[in-house]
Symmetry: C2
Subunit: 216 residues, 2 copies
DNA sequence: GAATAAATTTAGACAAGGCTAAATTTATTA
DNA sequence: TAATAAATTTAGCCTTGTCTAAATTTATTC
């Protein structure tokens, strides 16, 4: 098995790989909140284990074996988040830290049974897809709200930022998963977005719009 | 917060303290499966943190602060075991290792909500009492079956050995928590015990009898 | 295309937790 | 009570994962 630190590196490389092909040492260091030199040490170790492809100075990406481990950790994370919200009544902004710990519980039998217990949910409380027991999941073709044109409509299906502050703000504005919205206007000056929802009109900043994921 | 290793030492000291007033270095080393010298190092660290009372060569016991932490870990362990058996349908011999990991999930809010979710159970699947959110629980006055006289009756309420092998054996013999038994005979030669249960007569070794806890 | 800047890696150190071997203390026994 | 045995602690070393500072490589710019 892998250490907790190794698992966190693999998971982080996976997340960063969604945006860039090769993940750089500095990117990882910033993401994990550590120093570039520490990252280099760990990359050597993971490369040694054949979990990443690593060429000095050229960044890294996951091998098939490494990706399998990363996806399994993400599966655990999202299933525990679902459990915490659906069974223990936590709010969607409260569960991330707890799930960060729980995702490292090793038993796969446990997580498969948890999955069954909850009825094989497809998405976590933030709209992120939950990989099945074979690591398979659909990657939605979601667009940030900031990329939606005026008069177009869509449904909120995910968030990019998972911080409690952001989630609490959305909650307050009733901008929750499943909400239908229409872009009424985009303010020229600062690219703020005016939304028409089922119950009211809301104006949000470009920053917020950029972190809301929409299905058309 | 305390490290995983520290938590395991505190928990172990707590368990061993149930039998002996002061726990010796060697006892701990054997229990934790490590070397006496490693134990000494950790004892110094825990004494430094005022979680144990430690006098070199004289063994240790928990301070009030240390006992509080230990009981909280045990609460978590037993609640997770209950969850695994009652909600995820694991068998009583399958849950110990998983709970060993889960007991270190830090959030107390989480464990309190889990407790509520399950209806505040009083005992784990092995009959051990579950401390409440204030760390309070009744210590049953249970006797090992080996200490019960011929013709006396009682109910199986706990086990001393939690190993899968022992639990599987009990399961096979239908010697489960809540079962009513009567001591029919004690074999003089090897102190084997002949039990009369509701459905049949069973003979068990002194070793087994010694690890079954009975309420009269 | 050299010179500077930015990114990355190497070198050397540290803390946690563990181990072996040696020294010391306590317990036991003749 | 002296001698031996058992238990415990100390000393010194190892691994993991981290850090700072220095060296090296890659990127950028004039």
């Amino acid at each position: 098995m892998n250490t907790l630190a190794e698992e966190n590196y693999l998971k982080s490389i996976y997340h960063l790989s969604l945006d860039t092909e090769n993940v750089s040492t500095n990117q990882l260091a910033a993401f994990i909140n550590t120093k570039a030199s520490s990252v280099t040490d760990m990359l050597k170790k993971l490369a040694e284990k054949a979990l990443i492809n690593y060429t000095p100075y050229q960044g890294v990406n996951l091998t098939v074996a490494g990706e399998k481990i990363a996806v399994n950790i993400i599966r655990k994370h999202r299933l525990w988040e679902y459990f915490l919200v659906e069974k223990l009544d936590f709010k969607w902004d409260e569960v991330h830290e707890m799930a960060e710990e729980m995702e490292h519980i090793s038993s796969n039998e446990l997580i498969d049974r948890l999955d069954k217990f909850m009825g094989y949910p497809k998405h976590d409380p933030h709209g992120d897809p939950i990989p099945d027991c074979n690591g398979l999941f659909k990657i939605h073709n979601l667009k940030p709200l900031s990329a939606i044109a005026v008069n177009e409509s869509g449904v909120i299906c995910g968030v990019r930022d998972h911080s409690p502050a952001f989630l609490q703000y959305l909650e307050k504005q009733s901008l929750i998963i499943g909400k239908k919205i229409t872009v009424a206007e985009i303010i020229e000056f600062d690219h703020s977005v005016v939304l028409q929802t089922t119950d009211k009109e809301i104006q949000i900043s470009r920053e917020v719009a950029n972190n809301l994921l929409i299905a058309l």
